[in-house]
Symmetry: C3
């Protein structure tokens, strides 16, 4: 149980009141117990504080902690940043060091200092696990995988052949890294190739030999430092070079990154986002929930794709894109608004009614 002084120091934040008070959990103000640290990051939470029993709280700058009935307070100028420091302080690594007796670790695998390998986890021949990395139960690590130090690998994660991951990785349950890419070819030009020519006009001809020939994935996956991969997310192996994820990039749940994709550094890929084969994302790209990028597309640095956006062509650096097909956000919003007005406009046109002003 840290003291208020210790928490304030860890957060680099100012504090007031009883610095020796100890707290065990963070809580919402109304449900806080007497040993909890209530999080009241804006004045709207003031009333709720009175409903709970917290003696200490994290407050907005300038709050009158005594009037709020508290014995101690920490002041957080940028609330969510304080949350990062605070929740980290109150969290603990979920898996212990040491190799559980039921784990199956190949004698040729090399485990660093303080590594943890959970129950029933399999570590293949020649795999290397860096110092202090903790691996949960039921994880599969293929032969030759290299996993850096200081990481946390949750249950059910699958790391395939030729996967290399940097330091401090956090891999959520059932993430799959290094499955085979989805790459098939027919002897004759396939429908996808025909459609690119015809743009969908006319009817598709019968194809003589529809057999899909498989292109195998020999390239693996290379992931930088400080990357998080969400639950159930899949990152496929490249064909002859690795699929790549840059340092500091965070990936949410059920995201799909196809073979040969390159994702830059410090990107944020939200839930169910998808990037198709061989596309390239720059640095600091944000993909909102379920945003998607087609195959063989280049996205510049500092691009934001809002939730649900589907990108069909290259996007220059710094753009904010929205909708399907993806368009600059401000133009897309104009289109959406115009579309809402359209049924009435068409009725008016049909009736010969005089035109209305824009703000109708």
């Amino acid at each position: 149980m840290p003291t208020i002084a210790e928490i304030a120091e860890a957060l680099g934040a100012e504090a007031a009141g009883d610095m020796t008070l100890r707290v065990s959990h963070a809580s919402e103000p109304a449900s806080a117990g007497s040993s909890d640290l209530a999080l009241a990051l804006a004045p709207t939470w003031a009333e709720a504080l009175g409903q709970g029993r917290a003696r200490a709280a994290v407050l907005w700058p300038g709050a009158d902690w005594r009037a709020l009935g508290l014995q101690a307070a920490i002041f957080a100028p940028r609330g969510r940043l304080a949350m990062a420091g605070l929740t980290r302080l109150l969290d603990e690594v979920p898996f212990p060091p040491g190799v559980h007796p039921s784990a199956i670790v190949d004698p040729t695998a090399r485990l660093g200092e303080g590594v943890g390998v959970g129950p029933l986890t399999v570590v293949g021949p020649g795999a290397e696990i860096g110092d202090g990395t903790r691996i949960g139960p039921h994880v599969t690590i293929a032969a030759g995988v290299r996993l850096g130090p200081g990481g946390v690998v949750h249950s059910g994660v699958r790391l395939g052949r030729r996967v290399v991951i940097g330091a401090r990785a956090i891999l959520q349950p059932n993430a799959v890294i290094g499955g085979d890419g989805f790459s098939f070819v027919t002897r004759e030009p396939a429908y996808v190739e025909i459609v690119r020519e015809t743009m969908g006009k006319g009817s598709l001809p019968a194809i003589e030999d529809p057999t899909w020939h498989r292109i195998h994935s020999l390239g693996g996956v290379t992931i930088g430092d400080d990357v998080e991969v969400g639950a159930g997310t899949t990152i496929d192996a490249g064909t002859i070079r690795p699929t790549r994820i840059g340092d500091g990039t965070k990936i949410d749940n059920l995201v799909m990154l196809a073979h040969n994709v390159v994702v830059g550094r410090h990107c944020l890929l939200c839930g169910q986002a998808a990037v198709a084969g061989s596309s390239v994302l720059g640095d600091r790209v944000v993909m909102g929930g379920r945003a998607a990028v087609g195959d063989n597309i280049t996205i510049g640095d500092d691009v934001v794709l809002t939730a649900n956006t589907g990108v069909l062509s290259n996007v220059p650096a710094g753009r904010v894109m929205m909708g399907y097909p993806a368009t600059r956000m401000d133009l897309q919003i104009e289109s959406y608004k115009a579309l809402r007005r359209l049924p009435r406009v068409l009725r008016d046109l049909a009736a010969g009614v005089p035109k209305r002003s824009k703000g109708d």
Copy 2:
């Protein structure tokens, strides 16, 4: 093998003919064998009955079972409801009671009466499993998890720290409950915050320190009674309070529920649906396949989001919403229809052609 009388009684349905006839499986009429119960819930199935060899069938009300060549019949006024009772009667619990010798159950875990723990399943310290709950192979149950009575947990399910689940849960294979939330913050305002101000106008500035600081998830997940969670679905832990799912809610495959989300009671969330962080769904909400709700949004009771709908703002109770951005279904359909007509209208306008009537 139940008799016709037993099935009719279990379904609360009327029956006729040889009540002592026994059936082993339910079948479609055309492929039914002589010991099968054919399901012919509407007159359109009458002909197919003649192609199969069933001696007994579930029929639409008023059907002439003798003329259909049957020896016994059950009459189902609401066909799909009868299917529920019937398939339940013919199904069996897929996992036996008892702890498989290969399972790793911590000595401090408490298992109720008649609990089953499958091969190679891990149950952590202090976990509690209610009476009669059957757990399949390869399941991971973290320390301290509480799982109510009468449930079924399929293979590969991951239950993380601070997960509490009520009675009669059904968890499909590889579902992940209690992974960490996806919650990150930069020191400076991040792009997402900037975009909310600019609505996408202009180019995004270079950000000085793009490091994503992680907000840890300390809140766990609390799930009510009679909840089903689909294969590969992920439900993330809350930040400082639990993510919550209400009683009687059913969740399909590959659905994503983010941290702090609250889902009401008796909701139905179809395949690939998603709810982003901290959003709240009322009771009896239906999300069609791949419907999505953005973050920090409130959806009232009795709302239907049709398949593929993307909600960007609060929805009052009782509404039916469609499309992206989500709009009242009837208005959205008008917009879609108008959009179909638009290319011709624009051509006509350009050519100075007289306006057409609405039904063109």
Copy 3:
């Protein structure tokens, strides 16, 4: 390490130069080492060849291999098809034959010649595994499953009850086949049924008994020969007949196929695609990334659904469909273009500006 002659023969391709040269890996031209086979399938790669150290390459037809500084060359008229043969030649089966001592194989299961069962894999009673099929670690195979010869099953795959799979299947990590279908019914007409009547007009009434009654899945899944299933993909069991996937169909990651779905032969279903309950796809159907088909819909043979397409009604054979609601691709593109122009057109109409020509 195969020779150039052996590779050329395996590919059915012409070759030139030192036929006895041996290569170990395929590489991109610029990063190729001296024992690599560089892949330079088009003239655009010529310059990169000079940057690498490859002595042999796969080249476009008619390339002057000597001028490119090579000692041997293979000529590939259809580049990606050559890639298929080549990567297959350089790949190896990821799992060895033999049953790992930690695997739990029921004594009544029948394993063919040369079958491999990985560490901590569970094979249930009465399951049958065909000759030469290799199964990785942590796989769950339920009682009675039948899996054909020559397949590869990656880690974490779940095969449920009543699953039958043909020859040469490739199942990627954490795929789930045979989970229960998502099929529920209320005593009264449910919202979904009401909405189909009202098309979303008015407010939904309070439903008296919102309890969802479960229709159990008794039908299993039947999959043909030469089918691949991607990582994290889920294929649900049918209700009273099997969900079916035809020969030669390839399915990408995180795809969802619901209960009773029938997919034809030689289809290609890209990442995150979804088919809702009881829908039927013909042969050679291509679903682009995240394309979706609603429930109870029929898609003809040789249909292409472009990425992101959402189908709400039947599609005849040979069509190329795009967008939501899905429309013939050429018409949909017209609509998108018209929508882009619409804000300006409405402004012009409001201002009484004379109409512009189509190409404004």
